[in-house]
């Protein structure tokens, strides 16, 4: 069975029921609209409005979901010795996100958050974190095109406070 999803720019996407269910938000909306896998009439007569997702972003989300629709639900492992949860981005996901420019990555992250697709959200969040990894403050500011609004005195004070963890 298929489900119709309508984006903010009125583009209709017809997706497999399993793919639609990967989004907690869509799942909840389907439940609220009494749409079930066994009731074809309810699926045909209704469409799910997604006013916060554009056509371009939705296409990327569906592409990711297509790849992961058969994945087993996985528990996040506590790899860190102090119990911090870490997420490993698979090679396919790295390749998938590699070509997105940073602006699109942010939009995709927002969509994953709105649609509540945990796997995609964690992949993007970890990808952006990996971009920060090992960089100095000025390199991070340059990469994200951020204008530093801290004064020299404030920077000096912060450096003093974080001296213990600087190499």
């Amino acid at each position: 069975p298929n489900v119709k999803l309508v984006t903010s720019d009125n583009e209709e996407f017809v997706v497999d029921f399993r793919i639609a269910k990967m989004s907690v938000t869509v799942s909840r909306l389907m439940e609220a609209m009494n749409m079930s896998e066994t009731d074809d009439a309810s699926l045909l007569s209704n469409s799910i409005p997604l006013p916060n997702v554009t056509k371009a972003v939705m296409a990327r989300v569906i592409e990711w979901c297509e790849k992961h629709k058969n994945d087993e639900p996985k528990e996040e492992k506590e790899n860190d010795k102090r119990g911090r949860t870490t997420h490993v981005v698979s090679d396919w996901d790295k390749e998938f996100l590699k070509n997105d420019e940073f602006g699109r990555l942010c939009q995709l992250m927002g969509a994953a958050n709105y649609l509540e697709i945990k796997g995609l959200f964690n992949d993007i969040s970890q990808t952006i974190a990996n971009m920060i990894h090992g960089k100095k403050s000025d390199e991070i500011a340059e990469m994200f095109n951020i204008h530093c609004d801290l004064t020299e005195a404030e920077k000096k004070e912060i450096r003093k406070k974080t001296a213990w963890c600087e190499d």
């Binding site: 911090r84 942010c106 939009q107 403050s137 994200f144 204008h147 801290l150």
Partner: protein, 237 residues
């Protein structure tokens, strides 16, 4: 929440453009140009700095994927990055040494001895005197230590008996998790109220201790039974 902001931005953008057209057709050229410039500026900002469209909650989730050491440069990127990073807490320390003293000279000596005892690469050393507790030092420390973990928490308190300050200092330990605790109370005054407040904070933070070392070298004129009770209620090692 991100898209609510994004849609807000777009709506604002559309609103500004509609306003621009309205002003243009009503021959208010200056108003139309101003409106158009404002509209373009909004678009320009979101294109030039895409991370600015992510709300603080999502930015915090990205930062949480980084270790304490990797997060250190974030505080120097911008005020927003600093505030988001501080708000997370969840730092990982090898050793946290906190000293509270009335005597400045002793305070400095304690700082040096604690630096020698602990590993400054992994630790956080915070030595303060009573007059600082009402400044921004404590709120900053509270944020820094919230939901953090450390192998060793080393607390030295000397000559502090003001109950207001005791509760402020004790609040620092409410959410830090640690395995080993070494606490030393020293002074000629009665510090039982301070001790009580401290042990109550430690008791509530649900730590699993490996070792506890308590050094008590001060008066304890009142609340001795309550204090003993509070100490005995700490989780077993």
């Amino acid at each position: 929440s991100f898209y609510r902001r994004d849609v807000g931005l777009i709506n604002n953008e559309l609103g500004l453009r509609k306003e621009c057209c309205r002003l243009f057709f009503s021959r208010n050229l200056v108003g139309a140009i101003k409106s158009l410039m404002s509209s373009s500026l909004t678009t320009l900002l979101s294109f030039q700095c895409p991370i600015s469209i992510l709300p603080d909650e999502l930015l915090a989730m990205i930062f949480e994927n980084l270790s304490t050491r990797e997060r250190a440069p974030l505080g120097l990127v911008s005020k927003r990055f600093r505030s988001v990073d501080l708000g997370i807490g969840k730092r990982e320390f090898g050793c946290v040494v906190l000293g509270f003293w009335q005597n400045q000279e002793k305070m400095i000596r304690a700082l040096f001895s604690s630096l020698e005892e602990g590993n400054p690469k992994d630790g956080y050393h915070f030595i303060t005197s009573p007059h600082e507790y009402h400044t921004d030092v404590y709120p900053h420390m509270l944020k820094l230590l919230q939901n953090s973990t450390t192998d060793l928490l080393f607390v030295r308190v000397e000559g502090i008996h003001d109950s207001g300050e005791a509760s402020v200092i004790s609040s620092l330990f409410k959410s830090i998790r640690f395995k080993n605790l070494e606490v030393s109370f020293k002074g000629s005054d009665d510090m039982s109220k301070f001790g009580l407040s401290f042990f109550t904070s430690i008791k509530n933070c649900q730590n699993r201790f490996d070792e506890i070392h308590l050094f008590w070298d001060c008066e304890c004129r009142q609340n001795i039974h309550t204090l003993r009770q509070a100490f005995l209620q700490l989780p077993k090692t």
